[in-house]
Symmetry: C2
């Protein structure tokens, strides 16, 4: 049985969406047990409303919740919050995984300080998956956990991403690239130039530099970068997709003929939107932590929560962390 | 008269597109003289073919051209190339501006080493304009000239961008933001945290941090970042726009109804494409150089060249460089 602690507070549609997601997940996954962390009375009422079978669902009462505007390290000192209680379950070995749609900063801080890092891991990394034009997914590592990185961190990220894509996504030899400002080996800023050399030495299928125009090309399975750049790429993806759809919509509604055409193509637009949808793949996994920590999107609905729970199940069954620990131990130490 | 040296070689559609763009430009702009740099016989033949009025068009013969794969500093030592000849015209005061669609690296190196920097400018910056959802433009500075930046460089970039957006784009109080990984003042990596303080002190309308999701929101007129991050954003814009259109096209052609709808909306898609089109605004200007240096897109057509020439005219008439020199001189020196 995989035991997953679900922080039902913190997201835009919480707790209802998280609880509904939990119920859906237990219906389709036979090997999970869920521990819902949040206000017990509220959770019970939601479960009743859904007429849920609660055989593999338990509740851990937590009367407080972390607000996304709180300073992260201060927030995680509040032990009565649903997020901290969920993290503590993993720290104590009472759960294998945490799924939360709450404050990213608090979850990062809590994972690092409460659950702690895998031995040898210098920095945990926030690693979301983006949809590619070929219908697959690319992992972007790191996306905000570490704004200033040393080359060795990027080497560790590459090993963690490769392990994840292999063990969870089932890719035989994940193609790992370095996000850089040119495709040639000698290109880059000080960080990427040094990281390039270390990635070449890492026990991964390193395929060289990837320029930003090729991020979603489907030619790569994971892209390594520092957390500042990754955060920019991740947020820009959201923003640009939205901006482009706004611009396109303006044009599609500018004349009657286009309006009619757009109405006819509505299903195609829906399918496109679904393809661009993070809800299909779960959340961003925090790699390098001694347990599975999944950050679900703040606006997750029930389906997105169910996907994130599925991701936690795959992560735990994939034996990801022991493999990461082993691979990290084999990397040469920083001189 | 504004004298503009046009490197007619180096781009995908060169020299034909550059020469046709030059002819178009002289027809619509009364106050420019163009010096076409490239193979004289070829240029003459193109001009004849177009039946062009060459009263304000002259030719500077250059038998060599720079390939985009050449090492930049080596490339610009080749004095017989069209790009170097064009740059030398500005260096000698025989032209006010250079427009080239050739190698970005060589143009950066040549501008810095041949035309030279404005007094006090630490680093010139490559500064393209991106279309916003509100129909305006945002300058992204720097986009690749400087992969590793000091905070003071970013302060200078902010002043140069503000001057450009005011003098060339006619924006009264350009809203200058810092591209960062959070909107709060204390957010950022080491570089952006330090730069934030310097931008606050700069004589500009600094409006704070901009998260990547808001780059194209139309809320900002210029966005300051280091050249590595700017390069990633610029190339990702190209790539993501292309990737999204590919994904959308796949869906729009997946069933007959959508196909029909897409056919009806064709004009809307065309208008959208035009809006996303860099050709409307010219090229990326290299700010901080003692002259006007415009990098036209490698795939520029005649229209894009005409736009870049227009941009050079506006730049020169806008008295941008003396204003930049004055503003830079007033910034406190780095301690």
């Amino acid at each position: 049985m995989i035991r997953i602690a679900l922080d039902v507070m913190g997201g835009d549609n919480c707790p209802a969406a998280a609880i509904e997601g939990a119920v859906r997940a237990t219906k389709t996954m036979e090997d999970i047990e869920l521990i819902l962390c949040g206000k017990e009375a509220q959770i019970k009422a939601e479960l009743d409303k859904l007429g849920a079978d609660t055989e593999r669902i338990s509740i851990l009462d937590a009367q407080e919740e972390i607000d996304c505007h709180e300073q992260p390290t201060a927030a995680i000192r509040r032990r009565e919050t649903s997020m901290v209680k969920a993290l503590n379950l993993v720290a104590k070995g009472e759960a294998d995984a945490v799924v939360s749609s709450g404050s990213t900063g608090a979850l990062l801080a809590g994972a690092t300080l409460i659950v702690k890092r895998i031995k040898g891991v210098k920095r945990p990394a926030l690693s979301p998956l983006l949809p590619t034009v070929k219908g697959g997914w690319i992992m972007l590592i790191d996306c905000g956990a570490n704004t200033d990185c040393k080359p060795q961190y990027l080497q560790q990220f590459s090993v963690m991403a490769s392990t994840y894509m292999q063990s969870v996504m089932g890719i035989d030899k994940p193609r790992i690239a370095l996000l850089n400002n040119g495709s040639e080996a000698e290109k880059g800023c000080e960080l990427t130039k040094a990281a390039y050399k270390l990635l070449k030495e890492a026990p991964i299928n390193f395929v060289g530099n990837c320029e930003a125009r090729d991020v979603l090309s489907g030619e790569y399975d994971a892209l390594v970068c520092d957390g500042f750049v990754g955060n920019v790429v991740l947020k820009y993806t959201e923003g640009l997709a939205g901006s482009m759809m706004t611009m396109l919509k303006t044009e599609l509604t500018a004349d009657l003929r286009s309006k009619l055409g757009a109405a006819l193509s509505m299903n195609a637009f829906r399918r496109f939107k679904k393809k661009m949808d993070y809800k299909e793949v779960g959340g961003a996994v925090l790699l390098g932590i001694n347990g599975c920590v999944i950050k679900a999107h703040g606006s997750s609905d029930a389906k997105a929560f169910a996907s994130a729970i599925k991701q936690a199940e795959l992560f735990s069954n994939g034996n990801v962390n022991p493999k990461i620990a082993e691979a990290i131990a084999e990397l040469p130490e920083e001189e």
